[in-house]
């Protein structure tokens, strides 16, 4: 019989916990969510000797069991709830050899919960460089644990870790710290009242609101009586507890660890003098941003053009090779262009996540937080808002979830509300296709006009975000205490494996997540565009024939007229023309209107919709871009996508809250419908007005 062990991977942020997780599980992992909350839950399976399987959970990084955020709360809730199906048989605490002292704090807390615990000392390859040597025997004995010295970079120590995991029954579960020494009367009294409970567990329940195992619940409810101490008294006790833990750790490390300061090299200081410099820091940050945008635009255009033409010819091939009929048409005009509309974004999304994960992995992101805090605070944001705002360039959803480590609620709420203004990767395809249609090629001091326009749109998004934050900061009357503590991790060369897994994971979830919706919508749209009610649609050929009977037009032209007449009287055409009056002042026709409405599901649907609508009406093998360029404005004449309507569309997409999923996440993160509804109304209204003004001025 195969046996399964539940292993919880716990550790401070920046200890390389995820690298250990990746080393143990490889690609054998899945990312999900904890029920009810949007904290990312990473699980994986690791095969151990003798057919034993370890089910490994990578818990969110935390500095201590005293949780100060939703993510950290997950850790403590799991460790206190013995009935949870994921309750660990053993905990693996991952620490970083350079910050052992601080990392051991969490370790001693977990030991106090009497859970079998293994200590991983990661980044062992840095020991010589930092002049650190460890007496592992001594440490194991005094910390009452087994230690695995690991280097994920050099792939060392993982086998030992695996063998320790499979022999977890040999681990000691005795404490490191005696809590009662902190305040004898208080803790003795507490223990006497609940003789069957772990004292540290009781203490955690008293000092914070944790929800735990139902069976324990009733008994522990009485613990409320012990909250009699005032908040500041409790906090004083927590401080004493922390000091006590550090005393223990210092005593152990005094003998177990030697640091030869003469050997230690401190490159980070030298790098940080420049990277966090009051002037150069900002210059470097700006150059990095500029490089990223130029790269995304230039590098991804090659595979994108290739994908675009490939799908166009695939569609043509299907139409010619398969027997004629409804399904063949659906394939050629609905499904294949729909699939093309998904695949075409893969290069950009991959590049974007590549850059973001490199910035995070290297430790640079924390420096940006440091540099930007003062500036962001002027706008009611926090330096930590920079992480959501930068991740927002990928997608607002993970970005809004990344606001969780902003401790101050007002700063966090404002960040959530303004993040959707940031140009996300879903806007990118819309921007790219419109830019390529209406902005001339050509260069200005080495940078293409088109790339500059894109850069400008990113700046507009960022500007809209910070200025609305400024307004919100003035309007919102929320009082909350501001805490701002950011660790500045050491610089690390990003691990190729970690970056690759992130890029792969995100791209995959785009293709299979958003992709399914885009495909489904393209299929529905094709039907709506290919069928219609009433005689106008059914008798399209006769009506067109009558209309053009007097004129001498070729067979081909006649077929095109029939097709466009049909499209106009199809279900989609009727809907589109019904909303046309509302969008005509912005310079759009009903086809664009349909695309805007359907892209409310996700912005990138815009391009797919236009591709579907236009391919229904056309016979030739053509790329989406060429079809759009050929469209004629029915009222004004001239190309439909000209400078004025193009700019108007770009601005509309820059400001409008065109994403159902983001609204859902905002609802969940703010726990109220008030904020998402407010966001939707204000952003859409603003987008409409700006687009209106732009078109009217430029036309």
């Amino acid at each position: 019989m195969s046996k399964q062990i539940n292993v919880a991977l716990i550790g401070n942020p920046n200890t390389g916990k995820t690298s250990v997780f990746n080393a143990l599980t490889g690609l054998n992992q899945k990312v999900g969510n904890y029920p009810g909350i949007t904290v990312e839950k990473k699980e994986g399976v690791c095969k151990l000797p003798r057919g034993v399987k370890a089910h490994i959970i990578d818990l969110p990084g935390t500095y201590s069991l005293n949780a100060s955020s939703l993510d950290e709360n997950v850790v403590i809730e799991l460790l206190l709830n013995k009935n949870d199906k994921d309750f660990p048989d053993l905990a693996v605490v991952v620490s970083d050899v350079e910050n052992l002292k601080r990392n051991l704090l969490l370790f001693t807390q977990i030991k106090d919960l009497e859970i079998p615990t293994i200590l991983v000392i990661n980044m062992a390859d840095r020991m010589a460089y930092k002049g650190i040597s460890l007496d592992l025997e001594y440490l194991q004995e005094h910390l009452k644990t087994k230690i695995a010295l690991v280097s994920t970079r050099k792939n060392q120590g993982i086998e030992r870790l695996k063998s320790l995991i499979s022999n977890y029954k040999d681990l000691s579960i005795s404490h490191n710290i005696d809590l009662t020494e902190i305040d004898k009367d208080y803790f003795k009294n507490l223990q006497n009242t609940f003789p069957n409970q772990l004292i540290y567990k009781l203490w955690l329940v008293i000092t914070q609101d944790v929800n735990f195992g139902k069976t324990d619940r009733n008994e522990i409810d009485a613990v409320a009586n012990f909250k009699t101490k005032s908040k500041s008294d409790l906090k004083r006790l927590q401080q004493k507890e922390t000091i006590k833990r550090y005393q223990f750790i210092n005593d152990v490390l005094k003998k177990g660890q030697t640091i030869d300061a003469a050997q230690a090299k401190d490159l980070r200081m030298k790098i940080d003098r420049i990277i966090t410099h009051q002037v150069w820091g900002y210059v470097i940050f700006f150059i990095i941003l500029l490089t990223i945008f130029q790269a995304i635009y230039d590098w991804s255009s090659i595979p994108m053009d290739f994908i675009d033409t490939t799908f166009a010819s695939l569609s043509e091939w299907t139409k010619n090779q398969l027997p004629q009929g409804t399904f063949t048409s659906l394939l050629a005009e609905g499904i294949i262009p729909g699939l093309g509309g998904i695949v075409i974004f893969i290069p950009q999304i991959a590049f974007l996540f590549l850059f973001i994960s490199v910035l995070e992995e290297s430790g640079y992101m924390s420096r940006v937080v440091f540099l930007m805090d003062r500036i962001m605070r002027r706008f009611g944001l926090s330096g930590k808002s920079i992480v959501p705002l930068i991740s927002g360039t990928a997608c607002a959803i993970p970005a809004i979830m990344a606001t969780r480590n902003i401790e101050n609620w007002k700063e966090r709420l404002i960040t959530i509300l303004v993040t959707p203004f940031i140009t996300c990767s879903a806007r990118l395809p819309v921007y790219l296709i419109i830019i390529s249609l209406v902005i001339p090629e050509g260069r200005f001091i080495g940078l293409g006009y088109q790339a500059l326009t894109l850069m400008l749109l990113y700046l507009i998004g960022f500007g809209a975000a910070v200025s609305s934050a400024y307004l919100l900061n003035k309007v919102l009357k929320i009082k909350s205490k501001a805490f701002f503590v950011v660790e500045m991790p050491n610089y690390k060369l990003p691990l190729l494996k970690n970056v690759a897994i992130t890029v792969l994971e995100k791209t995959k979830s785009f293709v299979f997540g958003a992709g399914k919706i885009i495909l489904a919508i393209s299929i529905v749209l094709w039907f709506l565009a290919s069928f219609g009610p009433g005689d106008d649609f059914k008798n399209a050929e006769e009506i067109t024939f009558k209309e053009y009977a007097s004129q001498n037009i070729s067979q081909e032209e006649f077929q095109q007229k029939v097709a466009s007449h049909k499209l106009e009287h199809s279900f989609i055409g009727i809907t589109g023309r019904a909303i046309e009056p509302a969008i005509r002042p912005l310079g759009y026709d009903w086809k664009i209107g349909i695309a805007i409405v359907s892209s409310f599901a996700a912005r990138e649907v815009f391009v797919g919709t236009l591709a579907t609508i236009y391919s229904v009406g056309s016979d030739e093998e053509e790329t989406i871009k060429n079809r759009m360029a050929g469209e004629v404005n029915p009222i004004l004449g001239g190309p439909l996508f000209n400078f004025a309507s193009g700019i108007s569309l770009l601005l509309f997409y820059a400001f409008a809250m065109q994403c159902m999923s983001t609204l859902a996440i905002v609802k969940r993160e703010t726990n109220s419908w008030k904020w998402p509804i407010l966001q939707l109304t204000i952003m859409t209204l603003f987008a409409y007005i700006v687009a209106l003004i732009a078109f009217q001025l430029l036309k």
Binding site: V31, G32, N33, P35, G36, T38, V39, E40, L322, P323, G325, T326, F327, T328, S329, L330, I335, I349, A394, C395, A396, I397, P398, M401, C424, S425, A426, E505, K506, S509, F510, F512, G513, A514, K516, I517, L519, A520, I521, I523, V524, F527, A601, A602, C659, M660, S661, T662, A664, I665, R668
Partner: protein, 45 residues
């Protein structure tokens, strides 16, 4: 392939697509705990 099979296939595709959209966006409350998540399985990425 005769037109009949073509029609059946096309309608089947339509039903699957509509069904998918409905479950994704309108029955979200029941599903949301599992399906809509940080990995971006939610219509955006």
């Amino acid at each position: 392939m005769n037109p009949f099979i073509q029609n059946i296939l096309a309608i089947a595709a339509l039903i699957i697509a509509v069904g998918f959209i409905i479950t994704k966006f309108f029955l979200k409350k029941k599903q949301s705990k599992k399906s809509c998540s940080g990995d971006g399985d939610c219509g955006c990425h």
